[in-house]
Symmetry: C2
Amino acid sequence: MSLPHMSESTEMYLKAMAELGDHPVAIARLAERLGVTPVSANEMMRRLGEQGLVTHTPYKGVTLTEKGREAAANVLRRQRLWEVFLFEHLKIEWAKIYEFACSLEHATAPEVTEALAAFLGNPKVCPRGNPIPDANGGFEPLGGRSLRETAVGKTVRVRAVNATATDVLKYLQDKGILPGQTLKVLEAAPLDGPLTLSVNGKEVALGLSMAEFVIVE
Amino acid sequence: MSLPHMSESTEMYLKAMAELGDHPVAIARLAERLGVTPVSANEMMRRLGEQGLVTHTPYKGVTLTEKGREAAANVLRRQRLWEVFLFEHLKIEWAKIYEFACSLEHATAPEVTEALAAFLGNPKVCPRGNPIPDANGGFEPLGGRSLRETAVGKTVRVRAVNATATDVLKYLQDKGILPGQTLKVLEAAPLDGPLTLSVNGKEVALGLSMAEFVIVE
DNA sequence: TGAAATAATAAGGTCAGCCATAATATTTTT
DNA sequence: AAAAATATTATGGCTGACCTTATTATTTCA
């Protein structure tokens, strides 16, 4: 409660960058994920750059600075702790917790964050399977690889779902593609076409951009 | 998740009006409570008037319309449910829960509100002693009268504290003026000077503007 | 009733975070 | 290497919720 409070918008950009994993991130991808125009995302990256949160190498993408990485870890911590609360205690539908937790996240002071963590028993992962950074920004990156790159014929276990859009989460939920679920890749259509999976004895079609956000082991 | 989302600022104005009790409310008092200039509050009241949330009678004050009253009850419900959660489950210090709950309130969707209410066991009052409106906006107004108007010599019980500023709440907390506490009015200084109270065997001075927000029975 | 206090309105300004459009720069593909 | 695609920068606009500084209207009080 002293730092020049980070705006909601700033938090969303930092979070998106952290969620998109290893950098650098193309500004266009950020814009897409955040639902703004590339021009707006560019402007914002200039502002974040001035604040020392990101580094922008034109035509290459943006990278979180150490300061930015810490800030992002903080945001992710709040986000994911709320996800745990909403899912475990309020029994909110899995597909909706991301969106609801996102709103709450922006409104959460450090003192509340830590009290919440204690209340929840300091969980290490959120219901989507993503790790929860510790209070100091410590963060074991999520291992495993994307379902997108999984060879046809392999049987894998879903470790985490990195999607954030409610409709995408809803689709995955309906098809049973949730953390812990075992599934098999039956087919990969040519021309970057969808994967066909076997989940719980049912065949499920999954586009590559969705498969990208399913982390398996 | 469908209505043209009410801005945070709008919610603050509605909440302040509801908290200030029976109407009409002078715009200057609203401005004071919200920490904005009277001119800004005036502008805002024009906007809320256009949205049909308040009625403004120039030189008399503003009143919530039925629509405004319902919206305000909704805001108060969220606010006070979060207060219960923060106090009962997260063990946040009493004086701070209002402020923290206020941030969370703005970020809470109806579905989350109702799940939270169920989780908390549908409490009827918040830790400050104020009633929690039901899901339909139903609201039994807080009985009792202000400590300000309590006769010298009387012994009363604190039913609720209607203050919202953290420093004020902190002062009351430090002096033990909390819901359920019994206290006696020892003296009322002239010229609208402070009250002297006996609380827990200690003498406590309390200015009238603070006493105003202590509801007793 | 006239002065003082209070309330309302008007006019113009700021700021963050968006937008669109257009021009320019770079990279990728053919 | 030229064409196409993508990224960046420039310019100008918009909105909500504030602000300040007048000016005007009304109410309250001596």
